[in-house]
């Protein structure tokens, strides 16, 4: 096998620019965790089935495990490490604590990034629609009721920027 070339890319992650040399087959998830040591984003299935790796790319929620980092050159990425405002937790983070929206916590970073993306999309009106549009994030502990309660509180409070 002939050696394949690396690519120089710039990623803006949580408002910090990173310049990295990357092989084309490396996922955005692996770059975040292994290169940038931002281990809040979790690797669950690594095949786009569980949602644990959800991050926001240019404001949209996507799966970082099915994204090649080289394809996101120049993009702005928000991970769980970047959703709080300094010491002030994001409203979704606060609501997750209030509603006990986790047990083991492994799916939580993906759930929170997904919920922030979903509220920004503005397509879910009812609880049933919120459930439907959060179905890409699995919680094997079964904390779904708390998760949806937390999201509904923030959604109805209207404060989710």
């Amino acid at each position: 096998m002939e050696p394949k070339e690396t690519h120089a890319i710039t990623l803006n992650v949580n408002d910090t620019n990173y310049q990295i040399q990357i092989l084309p087959w490396v996922s955005l998830l692996d770059v975040l965790r292994e290169e940038l040591h931002l281990t809040g984003t979790k690797k669950g299935c690594d095949h786009g089935q569980c949602g644990a790796c959800t991050v926001l790319v240019d404001g949209k929620r996507i799966l970082s495990c099915l994204t090649l980092a080289v394809m996101k050159d120049g993009s702005a990425i928000t991970t769980i490490e970047g959703v709080a405002d300094g010491e002030n937790l994001h409203p979704i983070q606060k609501a997750f604590i209030e509603h006990d929206a986790f047990q083991c916590g492994y799916c939580t970073p993906g759930q929170i990034c997904s919920a922030i993306g979903m509220l920004k999309e503005g397509k879910a009106q009812t609880r049933e629609e919120v459930q439907e549009l959060m179905s890409g994030n699995l919680c094997r502990c079964g904390a779904n009721r708390g998760i949806i309660n937390a999201i509904m509180e923030v959604k109805e409070g209207g404060c989710h920027e």
Partner: protein
């Protein structure tokens, strides 16, 4: 993943020249399926050609004939939520939103949706024989676990199903696929795009190596008054269809002027039979007529050990969805049953 090189192109001509007709050079757009297939070593690539910067294919435009052109690079989410699509082609919008998850719909493109591959468990398991993955090795599903497999149009070589929801609606709408290749442009009627497995189940569709899908055209008729997409599955969201149905009616003075019915989850391509649609023409929308149409659609259906239930399920789903199309307001998120 195997080691591949990567190049980004800014127009279709460049993409075609980078592909160079070589099967090991692959297009990547949303990446939701190909990156997964690469991880499992089901697809191997020498080079990925990233077409995302091809801006001319990333829009929704109105056509002079009253139809709409969907850019191949427009995402599934942006297409489903586009105000024109929601208003004039709600069947398409509903079908897209019944598929995958919100994150995947944000990534996946319209062209890529057509190019996704089956989710047959044996196709995905490289330790088992599969004629689609490894031609001539045999089909593990026919004698194996085949709950999600085909009941129509299958062959003794392959009983895999095409998993898309979006494409079921595109089939019902009689869309057209626009293609660019080394020899210029051509287009395929949607029914001609995907193919049945026959003796070559490794070939999913009639796109040739080196060709690129540029857009998908919708005709003027969107069945926006009477439409419904019903998806039946083991889990009520984020799961592939056991059976899905896209139905559109044009109703005038209490009788059906035009009917469209396409099925998903039952064959190697979205399944339509114009005989069933012609039968409904100029008839009243009654249970009796819907049942007769469903029977025509399921003619020749053949089940296997675990999926024979799909034949009756599909019949009932067709009838139910015909009633839901009479009252589109009855639809629920994710194309769940409503009656």
């Amino acid at each position: 993943m195997n080691n591949f090189s990567y190049t980004k192109v800014s127009n279709v001509q460049e993409a075609i020249s980078e592909l160079d007709g070589d099967i090991r050079n692959k297009i990547v757009a949303g990446g939701t399926n190909i990156n997964d297939l690469l991880k499992y070593f089901i697809t191997k690539a020498d080079k990925l050609v990233d077409i995302n910067p091809v801006s001319e294919n990333n829009s929704i435009i109105r056509l002079d004939n009253g139809g709409i052109r969907l850019g191949a690079l427009h995402t599934n989410a942006d297409t489903a939520y586009d105000p024109i699509i929601e208003e004039r082609y709600p069947l398409l919008s509903r079908a897209i939103l019944a598929g995958a998850s919100a994150q995947i719909r944000n990534m996946a493109t319209n062209g890529g949706n057509l190019m996704q591959r089956t989710r047959c468990y044996y196709f995905y398991d490289i330790n088992t024989p599969c004629n689609k993955r490894d031609p001539g090795s045999g089909c593990s599903a026919i004698q194996g676990y085949n709950r999600i497999h085909a009941i129509l149009g299958q062959s003794e070589n392959c009983i895999a199903v095409f998993p898309s929801d979006m494409c079921v609606a595109l089939a019902a709408l009689s869309a057209t696929v626009n293609i660019m290749g080394p020899n210029g442009e051509r287009n395929l009627a949607f029914a001609e795009f995907h193919r049945l497995p026959g003796d070559t189940p490794n070939i999913d569709n009639n796109l040739k190596h080196g060709e690129v899908i540029t857009s998908i055209d919708l005709p003027r008729q969107g069945f926006e008054k009477n439409y419904s997409y019903l998806k039946l599955r083991d889990r009520s969201s984020y799961s592939f269809a056991l059976v899905s149905v896209a139905t559109g009616f044009e109703i005038e003075n209490g009788s059906i002027k035009e009917a469209r019915i396409a099925l998903g989850g039952v064959a190697h391509k979205p399944w339509r039979n114009t005989e069933a649609e012609d039968f409904l023409k100029d008839k009243e929308p009654t249970r009796e007529n819907f049942t007769a149409a469903a029977t025509i659609l399921l003619e020749g259906a053949k089940g296997y050990q675990q999926n024979a239930f799909k034949i009756e399920l599909a019949k009932r789903a067709i009838i139910r969805n015909c009633f839901m199309a009479l009252n589109p307001e009855s639809q629920r998120p994710g194309a769940k049953p409503s009656l």
